[in-house]
């Protein structure tokens, strides 16, 4: 395997991805990601000098609209989906002391 994923890398990716892996998951992730990257490295065989990266197949542009409210008041329905709510607000863990 050409791509060896270190503990530091998987730790860093875990921070970016906001995922906490068990030891077993971490080992599996290291090996899976290494194999995937080996496979993706195949793209290196192609000379893409001068080729523009294509995000969209059509030349899409930002679509703007007037900043006016078009949806109704769905507070109750939306809060009903919240894991925790209090007095019409989402409850979040304490973020500072």
């Amino acid at each position: 395997m050409a791509n060896i994923i270190s503990d530091e890398t998987i730790e860093y990716v875990g921070i970016l991805a906001k995922l906490e892996l068990s030891d077993k998951e971490r080992e599996r992730a290291k090996s899976d990601m290494g194999r995937m990257l080996d496979y993706i490295d195949k793209l290196g065989e192609l000379d893409t000098t001068g080729v523009e990266p294509m995000s969209h197949v059509f030349p899409v542009q930002n679509v703007f609209r007037e900043d006016v409210v078009t949806n109704g008041d769905l507070r109750e329905q939306m809060l009903a989906n919240a894991p925790e709510e209090k007095d019409g607000m989402f409850v979040v863990p304490r973020t500072f002391e």
Binding site: T9, A17, P93
Partner: protein, 539 residues
């Protein structure tokens, strides 16, 4: 003989309802009875809304009788993939993360169906967040293939395809990011279509790979496919990638004529890894179309082996970004115990997402991280541009590209998930279509020795769905009815002293000759039977 209500296609059903032979309520009841009877085994549905379906059906029936609803889907029961938001109805994406999520709005494609009078039965099982090719990554159990319950239905729209095949709905909606409509359609012997990117609004579709995702129909036949696509295609301001098209009258392309249609078969789609029975059935379909005047030849598409690595880089990158929204605050799963905000995010996501989803989020986060962004993500976008160019060149020569949907028929349950890369390789013929934003249709073209359906894929240039529909419709007419019953009959015939695939194809060709009077070509197939058929240029 009166056709049983459950055996009708969507378009036939609506005609029967309008003619007063049956009602929308009877149709909904028939489907709910089927679900009750069979779905413990197949597990096509995550959610069935029996009461809602019946009350919708009653309202629709009144409007049909009042002459307000006259379209081809009025009163027709439909199943919706569980990544399409439905107001007031659970939408789980087959994930523990959204196990209790009830959307406050309806996806535009579903709203279009409702406006046309379609009756929503419920939500279908899928690979978690549409990541997978077997529907085995669902948090709510596997879906079984109605053709053989020991096999997968494909994925990620496996529940939708299986529900159509099992007769637990008249048609279904799926979403296709790398083949997720076409591949399960092939495995379950149904028709499935991924339209040109931007044709169907993605508003209300839970995003996976936004630049690749497209919603499309899974149906019993090509006529239904055209009718459904015509109904769900719409320009929508709520989707900034939605395209204004004037040519969405897809049913006008239901014409039995391929005279002069230029069909290219990529040689690179017939190489190593393709099952010989799949290959034989696909080439036979090409031969059938050639016999009707299509100009069929082989060509080299090129870059085929680069589509999968490019796709998984781009899709994983977009997924890692799209799935950041699941943070356990406003909706979705939240872990029980946590120490502070960030640990809560991490624990909720780690417990809420399944293995394959986490694998792709990790990969996506990596390829987007500084230091790797250029080497992986931008490189993949450059390769995407090259793949698009290869298709542009092909479509300068051909109207339609023809090939297999998947290298094999449906694998056995449990056989695919052990090796992710092997599973990803199964998407080799479908994935480039998404990268290039093209339309593609999958329809059945035979069964293999074990009785599992084989899919034929037709790919068109952007906005050329009508060419695909015309070719698919013509092929369907040549092929004749397709279903578990007819396939079983075919196998019995083959079993009578005829062993090889080539011979059985010959039998089919000859019997068609008897029916359609194509003696000459029947003889040609006889001569070629058992050999590789190179060079399909029509004389």
């Amino acid at each position: 003989m009166r056709i049983a209500i459950t055996d009708r296609t969507a378009v036939e059903l609506s005609a029967a309802i309008r003619a007063g032979q049956t009602t929308a309520v009877e149709a909904a009841e028939a489907m709910l009875a089927r679900i009750e009877e069979q779905d413990k085994l197949y597990n096509c549905y995550v959610t069935v809304d029996g009461e809602g379906a019946l009350s919708q059906a009653r309202a629709v029936q009144e409007r049909i009788e009042a002459g307000e609803l006259t379209g081809p889907l009025a009163g027709v029961p439909v199943a919706i993939k569980d990544n399409l938001c439905t107001e007031g109805m659970l939408t789980t994406c087959s994930s523990k993360m959204l196990g209790n999520f009830v959307p406050t709005y309806t996806a535009e494609a579903v709203a279009n169906l409702r406006r046309a009078g379609a009756v929503v039965l419920g939500k279908t099982n899928m690979d978690e967040f549409a990541m997978g090719s077997t529907t085995e990554t669902s948090a709510y159990g596997v879906t079984r293939n109605p053709w053989n319950p020991d096999h997968v239905p494909g994925g990620s729209s496996g529940g939708s395809a299986a529900a159509v095949a099992a007769g637990e709905c008249y048609f279904a909606l799926g979403s296709d990011t790398g083949g997720s409509i076409r591949q399960p359609a092939a495995y379950c012997g149904t028709v499935g279509m991924k339209p040109t990117y931007g044709t169907v609004s993605r508003y209300g579709l839970v995003a996976y790979g936004s630049s690749l995702d497209q919603i499309g129909p899974l149906t019993k036949d090509v006529t239904d496919c055209a009718a459904v696509l015509e109904t769900i295609a719409s320009y929508d301001k709520k989707d900034s990638t939605s395209i204004q098209r004037q040519d969405t009258d897809f049913t006008s392309a239901l014409v039995e004529d391929v005279q002069g249609l230029r069909i290219g078969i990529p040689g690179d789609y017939l190489g190593e890894g393709l099952d010989t029975q799949v290959k034989a059935a696909v080439l036979q379909a090409a031969e059938d179309l050639a016999r009707r005047g299509a100009l069929v030849e082989r060509f080299d598409l090129s870059l085929v082996e680069y589509a999968i690595p490019a796709y998984y880089t781009i899709a994983a990158a977009e997924a890692s970004s799209n799935l950041e929204r699941f943070d356990g605050i406003k909706y979705g799963y939240r872990t029980k115990e946590y120490a502070g905000l960030h640990p809560m995010y991490k624990k909720s996501r780690s417990e809420g997402f399944g293995e394959e989803v986490k694998r792709r989020i990790m990969l996506g986060s990596f390829v987007l991280s500084s230091g790797y962004y250029d080497a992986y993500y931008l490189k993949a976008l450059r390769v995407k541009a090259l793949i698009k160019k290869a298709f542009d060149e092909a479509f300068a020569k051909y109207d339609v590209i023809l090939g297999p949907v998947a290298p094999t028929t449906a694998p056995k349950l449990g056989a695919s998930l052990t090796d992710p890369i092997r599973m990803y390789l199964g998407d080799i013929y479908t994935i480039a279509v998404n990268l290039a934003g093209l339309p593609g249709i999958s329809l059945p073209c035979g069964v293999d020795e074990s009785g599992l359906p084989i899919g034929l894929q037709l790919i068109g240039d952007c906005f050329q769905e009508k060419k695909l529909i015309r070719a698919a419709y013509t092929y369907e007419k040549i092929r004749g009815p397709f279903g578990k019953a007819t396939a079983a009959e075919g196998r019995t015939t083959k079993a009578e002293g005829r062993t090889t695939e080539a011979e059985s194809r010959t039998t089919e060709a000859v019997s068609r000759t008897a029916a359609g009077g194509w003696t000459e070509t029947g003889q040609r197939v006889l001569q070629e039977a058992g050999q590789e058929q190179e060079g399909h240029r029509h004389e």
